[in-house]
Symmetry: C2
Subunit: 341 residues, 2 copies
């Protein structure tokens, strides 16, 4: 069941990433050895997916510390890395969760073993992601059925987490365990993560699938036969409001209109229980050229203004259930609390 | 108010088209002199927009007849052209409306003036489009307000009709007469008519606008301030069910969810009153490469299956009003009849 590829791999002082901006054309492995390279990789989406950027950031702190020659310097470099990595992307809370953990780890480093401890903590974050993903599959599986036709948005497979994936992990697991699944993959404009990454992952795992434009999902639901919709999350507030890739909200509205169950799959590190609702979630706005000239292919007249929010917020009541590694929480009213979810 | 460009212009034996597949990069005029060239131009979307393909087809019949040396041969060539042009695109009914008129015209050609009459009838179809579009603006204007922020899908401006346009014609007219309009243009995957053509037309007419991906429209409505949504139509059944560019249906569902008025603008030549409902409208499925490799830019792994319906059907009850040149018909229950609509 594990993925035949890994989006990140760490050995002392070197973080090897699968450059996701090169997929599906090329499986390019890139070795990152400095904090600056990790920052660039996260900003430019070479490494992406809410859980995975948390993992990559933890290793990024280690790379920064590796340049130090003593504990005091390592502490300063580590804390600087935590602060700089916080500024790479604003929406996915897993990044802050991982950096908070590395920051806590830095408070407790001992004189001789500082690097060993930091690396161990980063590996622990990575390992937790792997275990959480496996638990997500078990939690999500009962919501599916053999032969289900499902829709998914963006990419939430192994590439997005460093483990088995979240929503797509459940679908890949269901293919193996229940059989007969057919996945409709939204292309996911503007960055095409669905077309580039989800179709590639589904092919790697032998899951039958069809690529659609985002604007085809509603009529697909209308024509019937769609069992459910599966998406990941970048941040979930205590009331279940969920920030996820732009387009998720429209998909949830269409699912509700057609009575199709809409499932969010995310580890509990995606919960931000300090926030009562999604109104407090900062939404990253990216370069409008991603809309007007995707991957350099100019589609609009020079000077055309474009809007490019990277995420939107889906209100909790539109979500049928939130699947976490600790359990499945059912809507429409969510009261997610520390420990329970 | 008239457009500073024309998508088709006819003079004896030559149909000059503005090749819409070259926009927005280049305003390329192409001279068509044969039936085969017109067929190719319609199929490949060099000439597109439901009303305009009707106009182009009428002139296409004239081009076919122009190769004849006598009335009998002209009749045969004309009828053959009618049948061949019917097979170019299946969904927009304006094409069949125009070809039916040309066919009727052919039944009545006289011995000497056959070419004059055919050309006059084609010009009459074109002229009617111009007058209908002007009437559409007058009918639609009362539904707008100064300063309105609106969303539109695909392209329904002068490029789509050869006149002032349908939905976009109303918006351009409202900009001139009411002022302060801001138009959000859906990019309209897979062929990007919104990004390529609508933004270009809005710029030509000086209307403030912003390009968005199709999957951003729902959250734009949620954030508030969207006055209404405006689209054209390729075929409207007697109960108001409306076939239009893929993505229209999802937009209508989102508009309903947010209580945003959803307007369809089309000349009565778009009505197909033989059809009780949209269930009978044939939906063109185009090459899946338009989805997986838009304009040659490959976005998915080789061999990825893709679905590419060119249109979807929006049920009448989701449409707030259908604006025709003869009047505004209000939903949710439409009973469109000959003469009234």
């Amino acid at each position: 069941m594990s993925a035949p590829y890994s989006p990140v791999a760490y050995r002392r002082g070197v973080l090897t990433i699968l450059d996701q901006t090169c997929l599906p054309g090329e499986v390019r492995l890139v070795e990152l050895t400095t904090l600056e390279q990790v920052e660039e990789a996260v900003r430019s989406l070479r490494v992406r997916g809410a859980p995975l950027i948390g993992v990559a950031a933890a290793y990024g702190v280690c790379l920064a510390m590796g340049a130090a020659t003593n504990k005091a310097e390592a502490y300063v470099r580590g804390m600087e890395a935590v602060e700089r990595l916080r500024r790479t992307r604003p929406t996915a809370v897993n990044l802050f969760w991982a950096l908070d953990r590395m920051s806590l780890s830095l408070q407790h480093i001992q004189k001789e073993d500082w690097f060993v401890v930091a690396e161990a903590d980063a590996r622990a974050i990575h390992g937790e992601t792997l275990r959480q993903d496996a638990a997500l599959v078990e939690q999500g599986l009962p919501l599916l059925a053999a032969g289900a036709r499902v829709i998914t948005h963006c990419n939430t497979g192994p590439l997005a987490t460093g483990g088995l994936g979240t929503a797509l992990g459940v679908l890949i697991g269901a293919h193996g365990r229940l059989g007969g699944l057919h996945v409709y993959a939204d292309e996911t404009r503007p960055r095409w993560q669905g077309a580039h990454l989800t179709t590639w992952e589904l092919a790697q795992h032998g899951v039958p699938h069809t690529l659609i434009c985002d604007n085809m999902a509603a009529v697909l639901m209308r024509q019937g036969g769609i069992h459910s919709v599966w998406v990941g999350a970048d941040r979930i507030a205590a009331n279940g409001d969920t920030a996820n890739k732009i387009g998720t909200y429209g998909l949830a509205v269409a699912a509700r209109h057609h009575g199709v169950p809409f499932y969010v799959v995310a580890p509990t590190s995606t919960l931000d229980l300090k926030l009562d609702s999604g109104a407090g979630i900062p939404i990253e706005e990216r370069d409008p050229r991603e809309v007007a000239a995707p991957e350099g292919h100019v589609i609009a007249p020079a000077g055309t203004a474009a809007w490019n929010p990277a995420f939107d917020v889906t209100p909790g009541p539109l979500i049928s259930a939130i699947v976490t590694e600790k359990g499945v929480f059912r809507g429409p009213d969510y009261r997610l609390r520390e420990g329970t979810g």
